[in-house]
Every structure is written in structure tokens, then in C-alpha cells.
């Protein structure tokens, strides 16, 4: 099966969100409610629709308020992933520079080879570039980092949208999303789309 675990989890989230969104269409379907008031199956559908809609609104509200937290966590993951590699490469480059300079001073390098050529050549064969085998683990972390990236990106987009569209600054976010025409649908579809894109990237990285 050509599916990465992180991508699979993201696709599963996307599938659940899509199902909740589709069910939420029944939310204000008065025609069905009036025509089949006693139908137990439709009763369940309406209940799931209500819960799905309120869950999506809660999620959007959280993404709005936690946009700063997502961004800072993302930055911390980037620092944790990149800085050790950079630190290792710096240490290695220093060792190579000193070794090449020493070999050059003692005339142990092949004639015509400068210390900087030695350094360039040795660095390309260095352990940090070739033998650390951290690529696979780093790829896992990059896949995991895509989650806070997506939530931070979405949270900030939501913030911009709500800032421009909300008439009253005191109004709760979920109310504002519900009252502005089509905004709930646009935001839900955008979220599902973003989840699918993240899943595809994770799958590409993982497989």
C-alpha cells in the first residue's frame, strides 16, 4: 500500500470533516423537518447535522484563537529539526578546515591542491552530508510539522477574513461565521481542501 501513516491520518481527518460538513446541510432543512416530523431515521440525521455543525464551528473558533500557539509550536519544531543539523555541519566544517590547513602547511596535500579545495572536497564527502541517516526521521518530523503549519496558516487566514468581514468586534467568532452569508461553507470547504493538500504532501514525503 502506497500510503504514509501521517498522510493516512490526515486523509482520515479530511474524510470525517467532509462527512460532518455534508451532514450539516440538513441543519436548516425545514421542508424535511415538517414533512417527516416523526421519522426516527431523519431525527438521527438532524441530530448528527446539529452536532456536526456545532463541532465545525467550535473547531473554526479554536483555530482562530490558537493561531498564535500553532505558529509558535511550528517555529519550535523548525528550530529543533534544523538547528542540530546546522550545528553538526558547523562542527564538521571547522574540523575539516583545520585538518586541511594543517595538511597544507605540512605539504602533505597533492601538489597544486589548495587548502580551500581540500575543504570543499572533504566537506562533500563529510559525515553530516552523507552518513547521518537522519533524512528519514527528519522527513517524519517535516510531515508532523505540516499539521501546526496548516493550523497556523488557516488560523491567520481566518483571522484576516473575520477582521474584514465582522461588523461588530465584540461579536463571538462562531456567531459571525454563521451570520455572514456563505462564510460557513467557504471556510469548511477551504479547511477540507487544506487537509487534503497537507495529506498529499505528507504522503509524498512518506512514500
Amino acid at each position: 500500500m502506497n500510503l504514509s501513516l501521517d498522510g493516512g491520518i490526515t486523509f482520515a481527518i479530511g474524510a470525517i470533516m467532509s462527512a460532518l460538513y455534508i451532514f450539516s446541510f440538513f441543519h436548516k432543512n425545514n421542508y424535511l423537518k415538517e414533512k417527516f416530523p416523526q421519522n426516527p431515521a431523519l431525527g438521527i440525521v438532524f441530530a448528527v447535522s446539529e452536532k456536526g455543525r456545532s463541532f465545525i464551528l467550535q473547531l473554526l473558533t479554536r483555530l482562530y484563537y490558537r493561531r498564535g500557539v500553532s505558529f509558535l509550536v511550528l517555529a519550535a519544531i523548525i528550530v529543533a529539526t534544523l538547528s542540530p543539523v546546522k550545528a553538526l555541519m558547523e562542527v564538521e566544517e571547522n574540523v575539516i578546515s583545520k585538518s586541511c590547513a594543517s595538511l597544507y602547511d605540512q605539504r602533505l596535500l597533492r601538489e597544486g591542491t589548495s587548502a580551500s579545495e581540500c575543504k570543499y572536497s572533504a566537506a562533500n564527502e563529510g559525515i553530516s552530508k552523507n552518513s547521518l541517516h537522519f533524512e528519514e526521521t527528519r522527513s517524519h518530523f517535516l510531515q508532523i510539522a505540516l499539521w501546526p503549519l496548516a493550523t497556523a496558516l488557516y488560523g491567520w487566514l481566518l483571522y484576516i477574513a473575520v477582521t474584514f468581514l465582522r461588523k461588530n468586534d465584540e461579536e463571538p467568532i462562531d456567531n459571525a461565521i454563521e451570520e455572514l452569508p456563505h462564510l460557513y461553507h467557504v471556510l469548511s470547504i477551504l479547511f477540507i481542501f487544506l487537509v487534503c493538500v497537507v495529506g498529499l504532501i505528507q504522503n509524498g514525503l512518506g512514500t
Partner: protein, 340 residues
């Protein structure tokens, strides 16, 4: 069978002591705001130090062992997922193989990320808690019945169970510390080479037996002993320093500036602790990425970003309010003492 070389950054006594100091910061803040402790003399400080050091070291050891049990369980699950399916389930073989492969390649990363997220979450609760008014609901779930049985929070501040609850609540982050210690290096130590899953029970048993060696036991006991001794010494000293500080303040007359000063000290101690612990989280993440235990000043930046996320999450106002409530409880208890 090839075993990984025993290697751990936490073997260094220096790092064990740094961690011990970091987890003592909340005890210092609690002692600083507990008039019934710092006013009572060195015998009480010794008793208080014993309770706090005992709870810190005890909970740390418990959680370290719990994580080892989880590690062994994960290894067994890895073997079970490697077993071939019976013929009548042959059609599910590709899915079974996918689950087994993904489990073996992802379990360490996911366990580490979940543990680190949990550490962060625990600090988000702790940074706004008021330990001078201990609440049973904040205790570990398996200890709640014991504290409820002995009515710990409603007991007098001099009672044994009140002290046990207070000390337990400031040691709640030991799970965080155990997770940090285990997430990077030691999770791989026991059983050795968790990243290399065995294909049979006999190989796995052999690996577990080899892993449970004297070096592993020594490393576990060293970190526990370091935490016990550092918490004990710093807790005792904090009783002495708090006594000197508040005596000098009361001789000059306590003013609003002193309350502000006390609140700022509590806030600083509250934020300094996660800053140090998050450094080790970033260090463990870096270890998972590179496989080499390295320290870098850039990790401090990562740690600062996680603390900033923490402040953003709970809100600076909530942190200030809880710190003010903690330092206020000292004055309340003093007034209560005078009233009696």
C-alpha cells in the same frame, strides 16, 4: 543479534543536576509563599524538604518504570504485528503488513511527540495553578482516591496529608520529566534498540534480558538520586531564604511594592522551569532527528518559542492572577495566624 551501544546524554551528572534544579523551581515558589513552613524553623524545613524530595524522586521513578513497561509492550506488539496471518485471512495480508511496517517505523516518533505534547500540556495547567490551595482534582488519577480517603485538602496546613498533597501537586511534572528523559535516549535504551524490532519472541526476550543491565539501572537510579538530593537541598535552602526575606520585609513594613515583588518572583520561577525543561524537549527532538545527543544555544530559542506558545495559550493575565493569588495566600495565612 546486534545491540545498540549504551549511550545517553542524561548519564552526565551535570545534566541530572540541571534537571533537578529546574524541577525544584516550583517547590521554591511554593515554599516562598507558605508562611506556615518558612516561619517554623529548620526542623520544619527539613521535614518539608523530605516530603518534596520524596514525592519528586518517587513519582519520577514510578513514571520511568511505567514508560519502560510501555516500551516492552510496544516491542511485543511489534513482534505480534510481524507474525504472518493465517491462510483464511490471506486477503488482508497487504493491510496487515502496512500496519506492522508503519507501527515499527513510527512508534518512537509518535510516542516522543505525544509525550512532548503532554509535557507542554501539563505545564499549561501548572503555570496557572495555585499550589498553596491544593486541589485533589489536579493530582494523578491513581492517587486521588488516597487523598480523598484522608481528606487531604480540608486538613489543617500542619497535617501530614495536607503536606503530602501539596508536595504531590508540585511534583506532578515528574511525568513530564520522565517523558523527556525517556523520549530521546532512554526509550531506545530499554529494551536496547527500540528502533530495531525483533521478529520473534525468543529474540525479544534475549534483548530485554540484555537491556536490563547494571548500566541501565545505574543511569535510572542516578537521575532519581540527583533529583532527590537537589530538590531536598534547594527546598531546605528556600525555607531559610524565604524566612530571611520575609523577616527583613516585615521589619521594614510590608508595602504594595513588596507584594508586587513577591508576585514577580513567583511568575519568574513559574516560567523559568518550563524554559529549562523545554530545552531538554528540543534536545530530545534533535536527538531523534540526528541520532546524536548534542547541545546547541539554538535550542534555547526553541525552548523560548514553546514558553511563548504556553503564555499565548493560557494568557499572561491568567498567569499573573494565579501568581498573585499564590503570593496573596501567604498574607491570608499570616492574618489567620494573627487572628488566632
Amino acid at each position: 543479534m546486534e545491540h545498540s551501544v549504551y549511550q545517553s546524554a542524561f548519564d552526565s551528572l551535570y545534566i541530572d543536576f540541571v534537571i533537578g534544579v529546574a524541577v525544584s523551581l516550583d517547590v521554591i515558589a511554593l515554599t516562598f509563599c507558605s508562611a506556615h513552613i518558612y516561619q517554623s524553623g529548620y526542623k520544619t524545613w527539613l521535614r518539608w524538604a523530605k516530603y518534596n524530595a520524596g514525592w519528586h524522586a518517587g513519582l519520577l521513578l514510578f513514571y520511568l518504570v511505567a514508560i519502560d513497561v510501555f516500551s516492552v509492550f510496544a516491542q511485543f506488539l511489534g513482534v505480534v504485528l510481524a507474525l504472518p496471518l493465517p491462510d483464511w485471512l490471506a486477503s488482508l495480508a497487504p493491510i496487515w503488513s502496512w500496519i506492522g511496517d508503519r507501527f515499527r517505523t513510527h512508534v518512537i516518533i509518535y510516542a516522543a511527540v505525544i509525550a512532548m505534547a503532554y509535557v507542554w500540556w501539563k505545564y499549561s495547567e501548572k503555570v496557572v495553578a495555585v499550589p498553596t490551595s491544593p486541589n485533589i482534582d489536579e493530582a494523578p488519577f491513581f492517587l486521588k482516591p488516597i487523598f480523598r480517603r484522608f481528606k487531604a485538602p480540608s486538613s489543617s496546613t500542619e497535617s501530614r496529608w495536607f503536606w503530602h498533597l501539596s508536595a504531590c501537586l508540585v511534583a506532578i511534572d515528574m511525568l513530564a520529566l520522565a517523558a523527556v528523559v525517556k523520549s530521546g535516549e532512554k526509550l531506545i535504551q530499554f529494551p536496547q534498540g527500540l528502533s530495531n524490532f525483533e521478529s520473534s519472541y525468543s529474540l525479544l526476550f534475549e534483548k530485554i534480558v540484555t537491556s536490563a543491565n547494571i548500566d541501565f539501572l545505574k543511569a535510572t537510579l542516578t537521575v532519581t538520586f540527583a533529583v532527590f538530593s537537589v530538590v531536598f537541598v534547594l527546598c531546605f535552602l528556600s525555607g531559610y531564604i524565604s524566612n530571611r526575606f520575609w523577616n527583613s520585609v516585615s521589619s521594614n513594613g510590608e508595602d504594595p511594592l513588596t507584594s508586587l515583588q513577591a508576585t514577580l518572583i513567583v511568575i519568574s520561577l513559574r516560567l523559568l522551569e518550563p524554559l529549562v525543561i523545554f530545552y531538554f524537549i528540543i534536545h530530545s527532538l534533535a536527538f531523534l532527528v540526528t541520532g546524536i545527543p548534542i547541545h546547541s544555544p539554538a535550542f534555547m530559542l526553541g525552548s523560548g518559542l514553546l514558553v511563548a506558545a504556553l503564555v499565548n495559550f493560557v494568557g499572561l493575565k491568567a498567569i499573573i492572577q494565579s501568581a498573585a493569588a499564590q503570593s496573596q495566600s501567604r498574607r491570608d495565612s499570616l492574618q489567620l495566624g494573627e487572628g488566632n
